[in-house]
């Protein structure tokens, strides 16, 4: 495939997304979509960003991190401080949230990424809890009762953030750096022996993932009117992890599809609060028993579209060694 057709496909997709989002905007303005659907739509968008950002860390780089809610919390609180306490505009808040989360990612990533597998998972889980407890104990951001945030997340901001996240992460994956990250996922020791600076790339993927989680945090905070430390416990981290695993580790489109599907399922199940979590957990167990590689495995949706052509070689693997 030459660069020209690739670029054409890219702009074509962007065009379709713009048309789609304008249509949605008209539906929202016209009142065709009531607030229930609009809320579901916003949750889907935020979850897509979260799933994509964790996909970069777990699916591409193979670093088993389950403290993603920590970055979400950092983003949410920093953005809330920027808009509510400092009175700056929303775009600044999004950027500040991303940067703050990225810095948090750097601080936590450099020491902990020397660990691997379950140990890294537990360390990141601990980090997520520490972030939650820190916010719980700071009176400036309201402590346990939380912080009220005005509703600033609008559809154009949301769709723009989603598209930018996906474009950046897909391009990163297909770049030299992304290849290096994939080689770390496949075999860290071999990658190291081939001269790849594994620490550098692991931290890099971690920081980029954290940045977008922070962006999602800003959108989350300005969508729900109130943020509380309890929203960012490790159950939230698990929710994000589940999106990535259910979609298929190493598949970007899988993460996005899982984010859409699961958000829809849990939104509709919220009408039945007493059985919601029971069904949710059963779905999870059954899914893992019958299709442990996730919905898409490691395939991308584009590989289904071009039948007969070989799919991208480097991205596929047997899925056995994803997490050390």
């Amino acid at each position: 495939m030459n660069i020209l057709t690739k670029a054409k496909g890219f702009w074509g997709t962007i065009g379709l997304i713009i048309i789609f989002s304008v249509v949605i905007q008209f539906l929202i303005n016209g009142g065709t979509l009531n607030s229930f659907y609009v809320n579901a739509l916003f949750s889907i968008g935020i979850n897509i960003i979260l799933a994509a950002s964790l996909h970069l860390i777990i699916g591409i780089t193979g670093q088993f991190s389950i403290g993603h809610a920590g970055f979400l919390a950092v983003g949410a609180y920093i953005s809330a401080i920027v808009t509510m306490k400092l009175g700056l505009p929303f775009p600044v808040a999004i950027l500040a949230a991303g940067l703050a989360a990225a810095i948090a990612g750097l601080v936590i990533g450099i020491p902990t990424l020397r660990l691997r597998g379950d140990y890294l998972a537990i360390a990141t889980l601990g980090f997520g809890e520490i972030v939650r407890i820190i916010f719980l104990n700071i009176d400036y951001v309201g402590g346990a009762s939380g912080m009220t945030v005005s509703h600033l997340t609008t559809w154009p901001w949301l769709i723009a953030c989603v598209v930018i996240t996906i474009v950046v992460i897909v391009n990163f994956t297909n770049s030299t750096h992304g290849r290096a990250c994939i080689s770390i996922r496949e075999n860290e020791i071999a990658a190291d022996a081939m001269g790849i600076n594994t620490t550098y790339y692991k931290v890099m993927a971690f920081v980029i993932g954290a940045f977008f989680a922070g962006v999602a945090g800003a959108l989350h905070a300005h969508n729900f009117y109130i943020i509380q430390p309890t929203n960012f416990g490790f159950l939230k981290s698990f929710d994000i992890l589940i999106l990535v695993v259910l979609g298929g580790l190493g598949s970007m489109s899988g993460s996005v599809i899982a984010a859409i599907l699961l958000t829809i399922i849990s939104t509709f199940l919220s009408n039945y609060p007493e059985v919601r979590m029971v069904i949710y957990s059963l779905v999870l167990i059954v899914m893992m028993l019958f299709r442990p590689q996730g919905l898409m495995g490691t395939k991308e949706i584009t590989s289904f579209l071009k039948i007969g052509k070989s799919a991208k070689g480097g991205v596929q693997h047997d899925g056995k060694n994803t997490v050390a």
């Binding site: 088993f64 379950d118 537990i122 809890e129 104990n137 020791i189 979590m277 029971v278 893992m288 994803t322």
Partner: protein
Amino acid sequence: MEQFIQQLVNGISLGSIYALIALGYTMVYGIVKLINFAHGDVFMVGAFIGFYSITILDLGFFPALLISMAACAIFGVLIERIAYKPLRNATRIAALITAIGVSLFIEYGTIYIRGAQPEAYPNNIVPLKSLEIFGVKISGQSIMILAVSIFLMIVLQFIVHKTKIGKAMRAVSHDMDAAKLMGINVNNTISATFAIGSALAGAAGVVFGMYYTKIEPLMGIIPGLKAFVAAVLGGIGIIPGAMAGGLLLGVIEALVSATGGSLWRDAVAFIVLILILIFRPAGLFGKNVREKV
């Protein structure tokens, strides 16, 4: 000074509960390399079974403890057979997600069956008077907790080191395939591990209920996580390590509470965890093994 010793006693009581749960984590991890997130919920189920045995069946403390341990052992084996066994050769992350799913299922299944309202353990089950040594008041319940925990740990050490099933467990945890070749029934051994670990969690649940009075369906989450921290602290897969880790964690928490940082108690547990992982990844009792290519 008296205050300090008082906190130390509280810490040891709390720590021995952590240690009991941590033993289950460490045994299961040592054999199937799975962080059994549902373990904290088995602890919760144990607390409830003990509660119902005491209030509805009108049993004393020890019969309730035994019933709870037996029921939890069966429960643990069921979880293993239904949810974990089919995934034994799947990726680690799939097994972990299943464990999270099982954990959520037990928590919300319990809420669905009996509602989310908390229950209070009757506080007159143990007829022990509190002791006073050099001005330090040690409640009868603290002594009871410590005695039960130490007894169960000794039994566990005996099972692991002196019995046939213990030998099989050690062999499987060392090398599952080689154990299979030597004629060890790996499935039964793993089930036995889950049974023993879950029975200990059940005992911890009853003891916890007796000590803290209040039990509720989501009570297993935080002690479960802390127990895992304790297991990592001592070196995961190492039984004396889990005991030491649990006691140490309990004491650290009690001391942090004593210095006025009770809000930071949970955070301190995780900070200790991260520090241990960074400076001594194999835990306090573990040996560092270099990974081969």
